[in-house]
Symmetry: C2
Subunit: 200 residues, 2 copies
Amino acid sequence: MGRALDFYFDFSSPYGYFAAARIDELAARHDRTVNWRPILLGAVFKTTGQRPLTAIPLKGPYAKRDLHRSARLYGIPFAVPSKFPIAATGACRAFYFLSDSDPARARKLAFELYKAYFTADRDITSADVIVDIATSLGVDKEGLTAALNDPALKERLRSEVDTAIGRGVFGSPYIIVDGEPFWGADRLDHIDRWLTTAGW
Amino acid sequence: MGRALDFYFDFSSPYGYFAAARIDELAARHDRTVNWRPILLGAVFKTTGQRPLTAIPLKGPYAKRDLHRSARLYGIPFAVPSKFPIAATGACRAFYFLSDSDPARARKLAFELYKAYFTADRDITSADVIVDIATSLGVDKEGLTAALNDPALKERLRSEVDTAIGRGVFGSPYIIVDGEPFWGADRLDHIDRWLTTAGW
């Protein structure tokens, strides 16, 4: 088993969702695992001076088109949520509440949150929605509810975002493979080849 | 023979160069031709408020890495020019000087200009360099030299850029296939499939 891939993503990022739907299977084919790492692009954009994709003239309308087209191409259910983009702070905190003790369940929770947001138009900024989804996966309700406002968990998320920026992460998805960074759902094919050929 | 693909690009765009190296062959496989359309992204960015890729913190360093990696993947010779990015006004004008009367030679000139800039580090903002490359392709030296400062040609370029913005072009390469827009050298695979399946 080779080193884990570091998979940085924002819960508000549709391309992050597309990558989330495919990355574990891709990694497994190469006998690799994936280290899921949700972050907040809002904090990253303060460093880079960027704006959300959909806020950019001309690029925004194109992006919506490319999103639907990409979803159909990959066969992934997708709808633009009515509230978009969002700052998915609570979703990130719920992930890190679980990730150390139960990374498999944390990963499952992350994908369920993505699906709830991008296929069922559920508002994953709501603590009630997060707790509802998490408890359906067997997560302790009271523990999670308390954790969502735990200063230690807030600090943990801040530190994960800082680490990401320190590693050069500027968008979502951003995947680091043995030190080599790849940005964008459309780079999964490159990653596949990179892992096949040990670089090129 | 189906409708031509509209291929918008900036001479300063490495991803435009990568697309230029592959698009004619791709189109020919689908019995299509390509309508090459150089534009100036600087003018486009005034509309969209974007900045050149390499000027964006974190994204710039990543882009350089992705460029070299993509060039190796596609097998295209590539080096970052010492003067980069540039406003390739003269190169565009030289193209439009030829494009109506001799589109095949205009297309050939465009690719030679790209190669000179991205493989031989020649300064294609220099009228001398442009004329040198064009005359090696049999273009009339005096006619071109005069044309580079012809107000009608300046206006033609301005109008091409305006048309591009009106059609939603915000980056390079930007390719319109039967009304469907595709942005980025990494969308050539999507275009290939789009042409194979008549959309999806």
